[in-house]
């Protein structure tokens, strides 16, 4: 299958969907993660449930297009329509297996900034804020972030930590600060996938997407990208993954 056969976003969704295990309770965000949940649910994770902070639990994707997680099709067939605090309570109990978080900036320790570029008192850019992002980053067992691969987005250190990854990167930083979940499992970009060492630390390059190179990744990444051994190529989206993505997007 050639690059032309799918878009970078479709590849990101396929890669993200593979992080979802069968029977996982997944804290689903907006946009691409909604597609990733649909792909997993229709392929390798038929028993994965989706949890939405608006106050919903589902055991299958919505049957119509969602502009937001609160759109009416997401309520039809829901297993639970409740208060946000009840959904957050499940996550605070450590019952959410995987979460997805978007962000404007991620750094080499997996910390996300969705709050301020520049001084919070006088910001160059005011970003929308945490939403449920920080809650997911702190409380879900593991989480994944998806981002367009640009040097301004993948920075050495974020200027403001909205959603903590591995903090300052020192081993055990999350446990030392009392964070419940294990932290970020992967950064999925339009060029590659980064993972993190056991127990946290600096992101390392895991796979490069088909048609892209290590040099290209390094040029577009704000931190020194370590290449440990031979870098594998990201398996491209399968036909069945693409089929679901395109069906749900329609």
């Amino acid at each position: 299958m050639s690059d032309a056969a799918y878009t970078p976003q479709e590849l990101m969704v396929a890669v993200a969907s593979r992080e979802i295990r069968d029977h996982d309770l997944v804290f689903v965000g907006m946009r691409l993660p909604i597609l990733a949940y649909a792909v997993a649910r229709n392929n390798h994770a038929p028993h994965a449930r989706g949890l939405f902070e608006v106050g919903l639990m589902r055991d299958r994707p919505a049957e119509r297009y969602l502009g937001t997680m609160g759109d009416p099709p997401n309520v039809v067939g829901a297993l639970w329509a409740t208060r946000m605090s009840n959904v957050m309570a499940l996550m605070a109990q450590g019952l959410v297996d995987l979460g997805f978080i978007g962000g404007a900036e991620v750094d080499r320790f997996g910390n996300l900034n969705t709050s301020y570029v520049g001084a919070p008192s006088n910001p160059e850019v005011k970003l929308p804020g945490s939403g449920g992002g920080a809650d997911i980053a702190i409380l879900s067992r593991r989480w994944v972030t998806l981002m367009n691969h640009e040097r301004r987005r993948l920075v050495d250190r974020v200027s403001f930590i909205t959603s903590p990854g591995y903090g300052d990167g020192t081993p055990g930083w999350r446990q030392k600060n009392g964070l419940l979940g294990a932290g970020p499992a992967a950064i999925v970009t339009t060029l590659c996938m980064f993972r993190f060492p056991e127990g946290g630390g600096k992101a390392y390059l895991d796979t490069i997407h088909p048609g892209h190179s290590l040099d290209e990744v390094r040029e577009n990444t704000g931190w020194m990208v370590d290449a440990v051994g031979e870098i594998k190529t990201t398996p491209p989206p399968t036909a069945s993954e693409l089929e679901v993505i395109r069906k749900v997007q329609a």
Partner: protein, 297 residues
């Protein structure tokens, strides 16, 4: 009991003074009280503190119109489109005025409202540890390995629901976000509804009644009052409206034009409704909840 049914203008005039702390958009992307928010703008309300979880465009509009002194929320922008341009102009360039920002997460703003509902100074939670938000928000502190989130007490909660009766017993369905704690924490509640129904409807299902009627001070019958946000069983989300707003609000001038066109030049919500193709958004299907028998003998 005094009747609580009134026009939007009267409800806003009487119950949302300048400087008030106002909770709205508490069900996240659904049931957003746009009609009530636009009436705040028409009334020229100033120095408001807006309280909510994520806000889909309405907070941005109120900020752009100069109504807002402080934002106490987890996220302010345009959910399907991204950034809130008015929010950016206010925070970055003090246009039209500077605003104070109390950052929250969705979880922490819910706990802040539960603290107020339970009348305790703060509640502890497991979230926010390691986040910069504990430094920027003066009402959130870390101790004993937990965050302690100070109570947030709205003067008024503006809540749009599917149906309510004249005394303010409100039925809402679909995901409710932080609506329940916002109403319990608020001094008073203003209900806007798609349908004004007899109490034989609301009292037929007391479990679906959202709030104690004793906190509800006004009931406004405002069909379509949540447009362009969706209302389960009544209206789909008007995605293109959010897209157009994102485009037009990109510049201060564009926002000013949008504001005149959709708020300032209109006398009321009824006129607004005539200018949109609401029929294209109306839910025509029927998927009725299974009834519950409340009989006692």
């Amino acid at each position: 009991m005094p009747g609580k049914v009134m026009k939007m203008a009267e409800a806003i005039e009487r119950f949302v003074p300048d400087g008030a702390t106002v909770a709205l958009g508490t069900a996240l992307e659904t049931l957003i009280p746009f009609a009530a928010g636009h009436e705040l703008i028409r009334h020229g309300r100033r120095d408001l503190e807006l309280v909510g979880p994520i806000s889909d465009a309405l907070f941005d509009q109120l900020i752009g119109a100069g109504c807002v002194r402080r934002i106490t929320a987890a996220w302010v922008g345009n959910v399907s489109e991204g950034l809130g341009h008015c929010y950016r102009r206010a925070a970055e360039d003090r246009i039209p005025r500077s605003i104070e920002i109390h950052d929250h997460t969705n979880f922490s703003i819910s706990m802040a409202l539960w603290a107020a509902a339970l009348n305790v100074p703060s509640l502890p939670a497991r979230t926010l540890l390691g986040s910069g938000i504990v430094e920027t928000n003066p009402n959130i502190a870390v101790s004993d390995g937990l965050v302690h989130i100070n109570a947030v007490r709205p003067d008024v909660a503006l809540v749009h629901v599917q149906r309510a009766d004249a005394l303010g017993r409100a039925h809402a369905w679909g995901p409710l976000g932080i609506t329940e704690e916002a109403g319990l924490a608020a001094q008073r509640i203003v209900i806007t509804c798609e349908e004004l129904v007899d109490e034989s409807v609301t009292l037929s299902d007391p479990n679906r009644i959202l709030f104690p009627e004793s906190k509800v001070v006004a009931v406004v019958h405002e069909p379509g009052g949540a447009h362009p946000s969706p209302v389960q069983g009544y209206f789909k989300r008007d995605h293109s409206c959010f897209r157009d707003y994102a485009a037009q609000s990109r510049t201060a001038e564009g926002f000013a034009e949008w504001l005149e066109r959709w708020v300032l030049d209109l006398p009321d919500r009824a006129t607004y409704m005539k200018q949109i193709d609401i029929e294209a958004l109306r839910v025509k299907g029927s998927a009725m909840s299974a009834p519950a028998n409340f009989a006692d003998e």
